[in-house]
């Protein structure tokens, strides 16, 4: 049987753009058909913007990469029309166990908050994630959306101009040139775009190696996350066991710095390690083995004129906390509505600078969290290790130490506090829905709030009057009128009103709060709309 990552998903096909005398001009070109480039392209195409995705490969991501996808990206995928297959296929888990040395020190149940359509996260192989995105692209193509993926189209040179970008592209049949009004570089951590433009990528490399193995097991391990600090089978290091769909298990084994990577990757060396971990009699088959060194770094700026960087090309994190693809999808969620408004002439180009401000903020939060996890898992000094081990010893006996145990802090959306697009908070309502926050979901009749918000500007009124539509600067803001009377679980009241009787929220197309007040005030909300599109 061919493995899914061995089958070409978007094989090379000759394109008429390769034959034109003068280079063809496209609205948006995306470099990279990874999770982030595909999400960006789908988002734009859904809004009717012409987009071409170029990838030097023709298959989904190779081998063991992302497995853990968090709630916010799943909600974004719902908006992109492909959340459901991901959740249907994905594995959900709530119980985690932490081991130290030869014993279990504690276990926990995540007990996710009720009243959300999507779970806190799912485990799903990155190749499925990408496959479902490609399926969504095909679906959009069938509906006539202006989107295409060109496989084995390798970008080899880039020229930047004030109002467009030029690209030189190598294909199996030769090179051609293409122009784009806008370029989104989603070409991964090694970003050739970044290199071609001579841009920096600074941060920390962790002096450590991790063996990442995906194994197909017959054993009936429970659907739980097991994390070992300093286990007998990997002395002085850490290990992780996590379940994926199709009976595939992800195993991470920390190896340390001074190792021979090629040697460690060989099955004859990997298999004994895994047997020591899983037990001698457990039957398994290796699907994939790779060795990674992790780093945390980012570009200084994600926008360079008409070139916008998103995903790993803009920022890279260690995988503890699953923040790579998860945050990249949030980049595109932030970027695409802004780019759309700029392309449509409804917002000034400077609106795109807020992409930089907001997502750099997000990247810093992710880098901080994943660096801390890495420092806990791999103590940098003798004293860090003494403190780390003290936390683990205490955690076995006392609940207080458990929040200090850090084997990864799960990706949650960042709040754009201080963003130039926010209006001052005039509600003094719940913290979690202050301006800049991503809207928390809530049950609504038979459905959920976020599905109602969709991907346009919305005026959410809760027990407050307002016009059904406000038009400001060519932006149409439609009202979503809700009442606490229909809010059986009180989740809406709890998350959006707190102690107040009523509330009005201006919500951006990426479902982040732009402004909120206890009641509708036309001037104030018009002002807030202008602010949210970078006009004030």
């Amino acid at each position: 049987m061919n493995k899914i990552f061995e089958v070409p998903l978007y094989p090379y096909a000759h394109h008429a753009d390769e034959d034109t005398a003068a280079p063809a001009r496209r609205k948006v070109v995306v470099i990279g058909a990874g999770p982030v480039g595909l999400a960006a392209a789908i988002d734009l195409a859904q809004q009717g913007t012409e987009v071409v995705v170029l990838d030097d490969n023709d298959k989904v991501s190779f081998g063991s990469r992302a497995i853990c996808f968090a709630k916010r990206p799943l909600e974004i995928l719902d908006r992109l029309g492909c959340g459901q297959p991901m959740v249907d296929k994905g594995v959900q888990w709530n119980v985690g166990k932490v081991f130290f040395d030869d014993r279990q020190v504690y276990d926990f149940n995540l007990l996710p908050e009720d009243g959300h359509k999507r779970p806190a996260f799912i485990n799903l192989q990155q190749y499925y994630f990408e496959e479902y995105l490609v399926k969504r692209v095909r679906e959009l193509q069938e509906q006539g959306a202006p989107i295409e993926i060109r496989g084995r189209n390798k970008v080899s040179a880039i020229g930047t101009h004030p109002d467009h970008v030029t690209l030189e592209i190598d294909t199996p049949e030769g090179s051609y040139n293409l122009e784009a009004d806008w370029l989104i570089a989603c070409d991964g951590a090694g970003s050739p775009t970044r290199q071609m433009l001579g841009l920096d990528f600074v941060g920390r490399v962790f002096e450590d190696n991790f063996l990442i193995a995906d194994v197909i097991m017959e054993a009936d391990f429970p659907t739980e996350r097991w994390f070992w600090f300093d286990p007998p089978f990997n002395k002085g290091q850490s290990a992780l066991l996590h379940k994926q769909p199709d009976g595939v298990w992800r195993i991470d084994l920390q190896l340390g710095w001074d190792i021979d990577k090629e040697r460690e990757k060989r099955p004859e060396n990997v298999i004994p390690r895994l047997k020591a971990m899983l037990g001698e009699d457990v039957k398994f088959e290796l699907e994939w083995v790779s060795i990674y060194t992790f780093q945390c770094r980012r570009m200084e700026q994600f926008r360079h004129g008409r070139v916008l960087f998103a995903g790993d090309s803009a920022h890279q994190v260690s995988p503890f906390g699953a923040r790579g693809a998860n945050s990249g999808v949030q980049d595109t969620d932030n970027l695409c509505w802004k780019l759309q408004l700029v392309i449509d002439g409804k917002a000034p180009e400077s609106l795109l600078d807020s992409y930089d401000v907001e997502r750099v903020h997000g990247a810093d939060e992710n880098i901080l969290n994943s660096s801390r996890s890495t420092d806990f898992i791999t103590p940098k000094s003798e004293m860090s290790r003494v403190l780390r081990d003290a936390v683990l010893d205490l955690s076995e006996h006392y609940e207080f130490a458990r929040p200090l145990v850090n084997s990864g802090r799960l990706s949650v959306p960042c709040t754009y506090d201080g963003s130039p697009l926010n209006s001052a908070d005039a509600l003094d309502g719940p913290e979690r829905t202050r301006p800049g926050s991503s809207c928390p979901d809530a049950p609504l009749g038979d459905g959920f709030l976020l599905d109602q918000l969709g991907g346009k500007f919305v005026l959410l009124t809760i027990d407050a009057d307002a016009p059904d539509v406000i038009e400001e600067q060519g932006i149409e803001v439609t009202r979503l009128a809700l009442s606490v009377k229909d809010d059986k679980t009180l989740a809406l009241k709890d998350r959006y009103l707190g102690k107040h009787e009523s509330g009005v929220y201006l919500i951006r197309p990426d479902q982040h709060v732009a402004a909120r007040r206890p009641s509708f005030d036309e001037n104030q909300f018009r002002h807030a709309i202008r602010r949210a599109i970078g006009k004030e």
């Binding site: 004293m383 860090s384 936390v391 006996h397 006392y398 207080f400 200090l404 802090r409």
Partner: protein, 71 residues
């Protein structure tokens, strides 16, 4: 819970921030300097707590012998 009872449930707001501060305080120190810092930290915190009854429980808890009077 009475005032004379050692708190052993989570009680630090922003636990990750605290832990990061703790590691930062040790950064660049030799092991001996770090040990000394820890010792001073214990004494500073003990003074802040003040109550002997609590300090006794804390000593037992740190020895991983809760409920025993090790002092």
């Amino acid at each position: 819970m009475t005032e004379d009872q050692l708190i052993l449930t989570p009680n630090i707001n922003g636990a990750d921030d605290f832990y990061a501060d703790l590691l930062t305080a040790h950064e660049g120190l030799s092991k001996a300097e770090s040990d000394a810092l820890n010792a001073r930290l214990v004494l500073v915190l003990a003074n802040h707590i003040g109550k002997r009854a609590i300090l006794k429980q804390a000593l037992a808890a740190a020895a991983l012998k809760p409920g025993e009077d090790t002092a």
